[in-house]
């Protein structure tokens, strides 16, 4: 987001002013963390083989990012400039460990589903990027909206890619068989799952296809040269 400025008149501003709504909607399209800023690609690659882990991952990132943005925004005037990256990392790591522990205790089955992915949130560069670019310079409410918006923008792409990969890779969605069994070649049909969909490179190719589609609709994203 290029128009980040500290809003001095925030007391008078309604909670969902146009500007604040933009904080939520911009990351969905014009400023999407994955397709425009090309951040957080690593996890988009790792966990998009199936829809279910992608959705849970998206929800976990929404939580970590919203909570992290609030904390960083609260501390923003206290954090020493020279160690701010380390402070941010500590906040992210602490939140992620907390989420992991709580899931293990209260949502054991979900935590099993996610296994290593939850730890991967720490390495998600979008979170660090938003802390540095937004929460360090903006108020708590705006930072919260920005966190939710960016995490949702990330989640939307994750879910799109995983739908694409799971459907064409295994013929299922959310684990439910959608392509009739009788179509498969093993049952005398004509269809065969595309095993390449399950391999990591297809995540990058899917993201690239989404970027292509997005830019052909959203002309202003195309660079001049």
């Amino acid at each position: 987001m290029s128009t980040e400025t500290v809003d001095k008149t925030k007391d008078k501003e309604p909670l969902f002013s146009k500007k604040n709504r933009k904080l939520l909607s911009d990351p969905m399209n014009d400023d999407n963390p994955i397709t425009v800023q090309v951040l957080g690609i690593c996890s988009a690659l790792a966990i998009t083989v199936q829809l279910k882990p992608a959705v849970v991952m998206a929800m976990s990132v929404v939580f970590v990012m919203a909570a992290g943005n609030i904390i960083i925004s609260l501390l923003r005037n206290m954090i020493p400039q020279r160690v701010r990256i380390i402070v941010m990392l500590t906040v992210i790591a602490a939140l992620v460990i907390l989420v992991d522990q709580v899931l293990k205790a209260y949502l054991f089955d979900v935590s099993k589903q996610l296994s290593v992915f939850i730890g991967l949130i720490i390495t998600n560069c979008i979170i660090m990027g938003r802390f540095e670019a937004f929460a360090m310079g903006n108020g708590v409410w705006k930072s919260f909206l920005d966190g939710v918006g960016n995490a949702a923008g990330y989640g939307v792409i994750l879910i799109l890619v995983s739908i694409f990969r799971e459907f064409f890779g295994t013929g299922t969605l959310w684990g439910i068989q959608l392509i009739p069994e009788s179509w498969y070649m093993s049952n005398g049909g004509f269809y065969s799952d595309n095993g390449m969909m399950l391999l990591p490179p297809m995540a990058l190719i899917s993201v690239a296809l989404i970027i292509w589609v997005q830019r052909s609709y959203n002309r202003k994203l195309i660079e001049e040269n």
């Binding site: 020279r82 380390i86 054991f108 890779g169």
Partner: protein
């Protein structure tokens, strides 16, 4: 206050580290009993699942106490007295040579039949894999199996915890006709016969991991189970077998186990 001075930076960092450490250890300590309980319930659930009893996590303790009649530790074909399977760290034991290894064993009674439940542990592509396998009284025929993993690739190796994979193990044999230990192999491109099951395409390393795990873990039980199953058959009055025979399909296996017992002895 100058937030960029050295002393402030040091103090801030120190305070931050202490606060975060305190918070996390507090959370970990407070949640630990619940987490341990979940893990324990899950292992009960999995033990029961391997003898084809499906229970929810909440009911697992009650069902476990009902169906599991013995908890043993086996070393070199002998029961180690006074040891409980929970005292054993399977991950460490499976790395030891066979004669030093302590093998936990659970014995289940279901519908008057005895099953041996054997915990398994091995390595997949990205991390550990584990599971439980249950054998019928003949110490060879697999009654049920289930596997799980820490971090295998979703859609590929991770499929070992799906029923289409582990159900293939039912009615396979770990001993060959001469009663020699052969284990069960996960075969790429289709398995056949009593000692092979179908592998997972794209999950070759995990499939091989399952093969190695079965071979390595089961080996420690063969002597004990063979001895026990032949002893058990001898003790069993002949009439009792005949009485049970027509009532249940499963009982047909008993004459078979009698045969294999003769070969073993």
């Amino acid at each position: 206050m100058d937030t960029n001075s050295n002393s402030y930076t040091f103090i801030f960092s120190a305070v931050m580290v202490i606060v975060v450490a305190a918070l996390l250890s507090l959370a970990a300590t407070a949640l630990q009993p619940r987490q341990a309980e979940n893990v324990r319930q899950e292992s009960w659930q999995n033990i029961l699942k391997s003898v084809n009893i499906d229970v929810s996590r909440a009911e697992s303790e009650e069902a476990y106490n009902k169906f599991i009649v013995e908890e043993l530790v086996i070393q070199n074909g002998q029961v180690v007295e006074g040891m409980h399977p929970l005292e054993i760290v399977l991950a460490d034991e499976v790395k030891k040579p066979l004669e030093d290894r302590k093998n936990p064993l659970y014995v289940a009674e279901k519908d008057g039949e005895t099953f041996f439940v054997i915990p398994l542990r091995g390595g997949g592509l990205w991390g550990p894999i584990w599971g439980f396998i249950s054998l019928k009284k003949d110490a060879s025929t697999i009654y049920g199996a289930n596997f799980d993993h820490k971090s295998e690739t979703p859609g590929l190796g991770a499929e070992i915890n799906q029923s289409f994979f582990y159900n293939q193990f039912q009615d396979k044999n770990i001993l060959n006709e001469e009663g020699v230990f052969k284990s069960v192999e996960v075969k790429k491109g289709g398995g056949s016969g009593p000692h092979q099951v179908d592998g997972i395409s794209g999950g070759t390393v995990t499939s091989d991991g399952v093969t190695d795990m079965l071979k390595n873990c089961l080996a420690g039980y063969v002597d004990y189970l063979k001895a026990r199953s032949s002893k058990h058959d001898q003790e069993l009055p002949v009439e009792e077998i005949e009485v049970d025979d027509p009532t249940e399909d499963d009982q047909i296996d008993i004459p078979q186990s009698g045969e294999s017992e003769e070969e073993v002895v």
